[in-house]
Symmetry: C2
Subunit: 258 residues, 2 copies
């Protein structure tokens, strides 16, 4: 990257006007040339969804920093695909996604649009980072997040990432003075005990809001949940080969008789 | 399961009126008590998306077989969550998803609504299977698929599946006489080289259809792509811990200086 600044693509899932992406843009402009391609509306929980049944559109918008920015009609993954293949002049040196308003630790990674944008960056062969703050409030304090973002972006621009891997970075809701640092972890074995909030509309028909209680079944001290509960930012390296290698030999011995 | 028939939940991502799910219902009613909860419209490529920004609805529909069936306004994952937590009288003994019209082999697993429904079943602790036929046509020939479905469902009802694992089953587009059997595989290292079909609407504005070329970079003979190209149905055990364990020690040695 001698002779030129790195090209940094920013995406998210909370939409282009969310405070979290503005913090990320503000931090990234000091590291390189920034292009933002983010959803035109909130896309939380869209997972690795892509848009097949309808076409995509994007429009240039002014986000008030020294960068190009576009709002896109699609999902976070669509944003990355459109950016890499249509909008950017060349492949970016880094994809950063977030800063998400709310946790993407442990099992949340598979539902998360923020992390899916980072996984899509990794699939494109670009070092990619997803950042999430454990605070849903749009008035959240991003001061610890800013430090974590700067440290991890600096290291990743210098050293890259292992091939096919991106980082799932979660930041605790914590005062700067209590923050303990950055910890590389594994994804905790945790899950949502789903509940539905049942209501009745004015015409008498039932409808349901998805809700639930988060359950951590993992007692390990090497997990993202442990790190976050103990004042650390968690960094989980994430990959997209879903093969359950440990189960293969048992399954190979089964008799699937046709 | 002595004294009663197994309770089988059927979902998909092509929607409740797709031919593939009708084939699956027809096969499953001979194995147990069937309840269908499937999207009211096509939801291909929705990945592990869930519906957070709007509420969910479901309605009973008649699909013409001896089973209860419901169309749901949400994603395939929403369907499984709603079924397990609201619609079904108890936890099902088996979740089957599909039969998808089109491949969910290799990297397609992360974009696939069909497979996300199966992964969600596994997250609920239920043995879960996703079936896909490598034929996009709604007039596809499902005769090989039927044999594969029966063999794998029979085995899974008898023996269960390793905890936290579901099966990604893909079936080649092939004549019965050329079909070679079922092969347990790993996910191939393959990807989409994305392209966008750029068009102009009647008002002069550009829009883009997502398209692309599938690239298999994997020369292994133990992959799903190899099996499918060689006349086998592929069975990949799938899990949802995305941690890149191989990268952890390298990352732990990095100095993320705050």
């Amino acid at each position: 990257m001698e002779g030129r600044k790195p090209l940094i693509l920013i995406a998210n899932d909370d939409g282009i006007i969310a405070p979290g992406i503005r913090v990320l843009i503000e931090e990234m402009v000091s590291f390189g040339d920034v292009v933002v391609v983010a959803p035109d509306k909130p896309q939380s929980g869209t997972g690795h969804g892509i848009t097949i049944e309808s076409p995509l559109r994007y429009n240039e918008v002014d986000v008030g920093f020294d960068c190009k920015a576009y709002s896109c009609s699609g999902t976070p993954v669509d944003c990355v695909k459109l950016a890499v293949n249509i909008i950017l002049p060349e492949k970016p040196d880094l994809v950063v996604s977030g800063i998400n308003h709310g946790s993407n630790s442990s099992i949340n990674v598979i539902y998360s649009g923020t992390m899916s944008a980072a996984v899509e960056g990794a699939l494109e062969g670009v070092p990619s980072l997803g950042f999430s703050l454990l605070d849903y409030s749009f008035e959240a304090d991003f001061s610890v997040s800013r430090k974590v973002v700067r440290a991890i972006v600096k290291n990743t621009l210098q050293s890259g990432l292992p091939k096919g891997t991106c980082l799932n970075v979660n930041i605790p809701k914590i005062e700067s003075s209590n923050f303990k640092g950055i910890k590389v972890c594994r994804q905790a074995n945790a899950n949502w005990e789903q509940e539905f909030d049942e209501r009745v509309d004015p015409t008498g028909k039932k409808y349901f809001w998805l809700t639930g209680v988060f359950k951590n079944y993992d007692e390990g001290t090497d997990t993202d949940e442990w790190a976050l509960a103990n004042g650390y930012a968690s960094v989980v390296p994430v990959q997209y080969d879903l093969t359950a290698y440990d189960s293969m030999s048992e399954l190979k011995n089964r008799n699937y008789e046709i």
